[in-house]
């Protein structure tokens, strides 16, 4: 449904390419998430797909149509959500804003009013339809943005940080809308800085850095990139300042003998990051023998955030 081949783009007066030889494709019913540090090229890529930026090289097709040759045909197939809140007319109501944009998308007047009601219900804003946009909360603005993207029932949705700055409740509701769109076989390209969201939602993830797409894969494939784990040890002891100094000495000792990467100590918790060669039994043995009363141990798998930090770094 979305195909990018060798896309290249460079902003004038900026060193290096904003996008360099980027190629991938997304199928209908798939949620493809773009991850990467700020300035990596995610938003530029979304703008290219929506026709707001013209690539300097390469070819993009959406629904089998070249985005430069069949510009207006492609526009009918694409719904866009940009992270910015200021994309509506502040003095118009939510419904009036949607009616305006729906009209520009060429939706016939006879069906537009019902379509506006329909999408407002879909995003849970039916009771706020007549409220002026300037009175909307951030979460409502994001949902209205989603409603606008759905107005013309596009096959492809480009969602640039649709959940940035919203509370967990609104974020959940937007995630549910995205999942319902996936069920309708829509092709979804998402960008986010929320690793938990990316982990929950993505069928595949593309990691972009300095304009280059350095990896595409499923969440598990990313996690396998690093075999780092974390051991969390909770003590029954309460620690005095003197004890803490002793613990620090102990930590250095553990670091040397147990082959771990790093150790943090806070209140009555010790967190040890390690990889394959870590000797957990020996560590626990050292701690017990030194008189530390271990209450509980938890082993935590590497998260997508760990992978992000590794790839971005």
């Amino acid at each position: 449904m979305i195909n990018l081949n060798n896309i290249q783009f460079k902003y004038p007066k900026k060193e290096g390419f904003a996008l360099d030889d980027v190629s991938f494709s997304i199928s209908p019913g798939e949620i493809f998430t773009l991850l990467g540090p700020n300035g990596a090229g995610k938003t530029t890529l979304i703008r290219i797909l929506s026709g707001l930026i013209l690539p300097h090289q390469g070819k993009v097709t959406i629904c089998d149509h070249d985005i430069q040759l069949k510009e207006y045909r492609v526009r009918r197939s694409v719904g866009l959500v940009i992270g910015d809140e200021r994309t509506f007319y502040f003095r118009l109501s939510g419904a009036q804003n949607l009616e305006f944009f729906g009209g520009l998308y060429g939706i016939k007047r006879s069906v537009l009013k019902n379509r506006v009601i329909e999408v407002l219900e879909k995003v849970g804003l039916q009771d706020d339809a007549k409220l002026q946009y300037m009175r909307f909360s951030t979460g409502m603005k994001k949902r209205l943005s989603m409603a606008r993207a759905l107005l013309h029932d596009p096959d492809v949705l480009l969602l640039d940080e649709p959940n940035s700055g919203v509370d967990p409740h609104s974020a959940k509701s937007i995630r549910e809308i995205i999942f319902s769109l996936k069920k309708q076989d829509k092709t979804i390209l998402l960008t986010t800085h929320d690793m938990e969201e990316a982990e929950k939602m993505s069928d595949r993830i593309g990691f972009i850095k300095n304009g280059k797409l350095i990896k595409i894969g499923k969440v598990e494939e990313y996690k396998n990139l690093i075999n780092k784990k974390r051991l969390e040890i909770i003590f029954n002891n309460t620690f005095s300042a003197y004890d803490k100094a002793l613990v620090r000495d102990m930590m250095n000792q553990i670091k040397i003998v147990s082959h771990c990467d790093s150790i943090d100590f806070n209140d009555n918790k010790m967190r040890i990051s390690y990889n394959g060669s870590f000797d957990m039994n020996r560590t626990l043995h050292i701690l017990s023998q030194s008189g530390y009363d271990i209450s509980k141990t938890n082993t935590i798998e590497a998260s997508l955030e760990d992978v992000f930090i590794k790839l971005a770094g």
Binding site: S50, G51, L52, H56, R75, I82, E85, T87, L104, R148
Partner: protein
């Protein structure tokens, strides 16, 4: 005192960062001064105003139509770039541009709204002033409307060119400034062009706004027929045929150039 210094520093740095606007602002000040100098000469002629005889000799009707004309010139020249700038500031421009409506139509629809607003403002102003001051007007309405329409369309072409430039440059463009300043100074808005030095009268004769304003005054004050304003109408029609298509081409070039450098939403 340090806080005052900080405010001054912020003001100064911002001011010099808009170099074009700064220079144009200074020149505008001089142009305004010049305008009032010529107007002073004109008013010192006493109550008879011989230069106004071709428009019936009434100073107030002469000035009111000149002022109303200026507002149409302003809207025609700045409406399109104003639309782009305000949509950029509201963050809605990108959503308009990815819709299924062509950029040219978006500008046209927004422009029409501005013209309707300007037309209503001028209509109200004229009606009120005419009744309050009992100004003698002899109106050839069809002629006046045709002259007004062609004035708007011909200048709108220049306004479109200006919009095309502002999409790329993001700052005030010289085209609008040149036309607005020259119209105010040389087209006979506040004083007859006969009060200009001969070499400036030559420049005035080149300006389409001089001819448009002349046609408007003749049709609104002297009830002039179509035959009398035909030379001006023809000139404005030819200008429309040249500037409007050229304006649309420049807007399209500006739009595509901004897409090539990725600066569409920047302002």
């Amino acid at each position: 005192m340090y806080k005052v210094y900080l405010f001054f520093k912020r003001f100064f740095i911002t001011m010099i960062s808009y170099k074009t606007a700064l220079i144009l602002g200074i020149i505008s000040g001089f142009a305004g001064l010049l305008q009032f100098t010529f107007m002073g000469d004109f008013l010192s002629d006493g109550n008879s105003f011989p230069a106004l005889q071709k428009y019936g000799g009434n100073l107030l009707s002469y000035l009111i139509i000149g002022t109303a004309f200026t507002s149409f010139v302003g809207v025609s020249l700045s409406s399109f770039q104003g639309t782009i700038r305000s949509e950029q500031q509201m963050g809605t421009l990108e959503y308009l541009l990815i819709s299924n409506t062509r950029l040219e139509l978006i500008l046209l629809y927004s422009g029409v709204m501005n013209f309707v607003q300007a037309f209503l403002n001028v209509a109200i102003l004229l009606t009120v002033v005419v009744f309050i001051f009992d100004i003698p007007l002899g109106i050839n309405l069809p002629g006046a409307l045709i002259a007004m329409f062609l004035t708007i369309t011909s200048l709108s072409g220049i306004g479109l060119m200006s919009a095309g430039i502002i999409i790329i440059t993001k700052i005030g463009d010289p085209i609008t400034w040149v036309f607005t300043t020259l119209t105010g100074l040389l087209s006979g808005v506040l004083f007859p062009v006969e009060y200009l030095p001969p070499w400036l009268q030559t420049v005035s004769a080149i300006l389409p706004t001089t001819h448009a304003l002349h046609a408007l005054r003749l049709t609104l004050i002297q009830n002039a027929g179509m035959a009398e304003i035909m030379p001006q109408i023809t000139l404005l029609a030819v200008m429309t045929l040249i500037t409007v298509p050229l304006g649309f081409i420049i807007v399209r070039i500006g739009f595509n150039q901004a897409r090539k450098v990725g600066s569409l939403a920047q302002y």
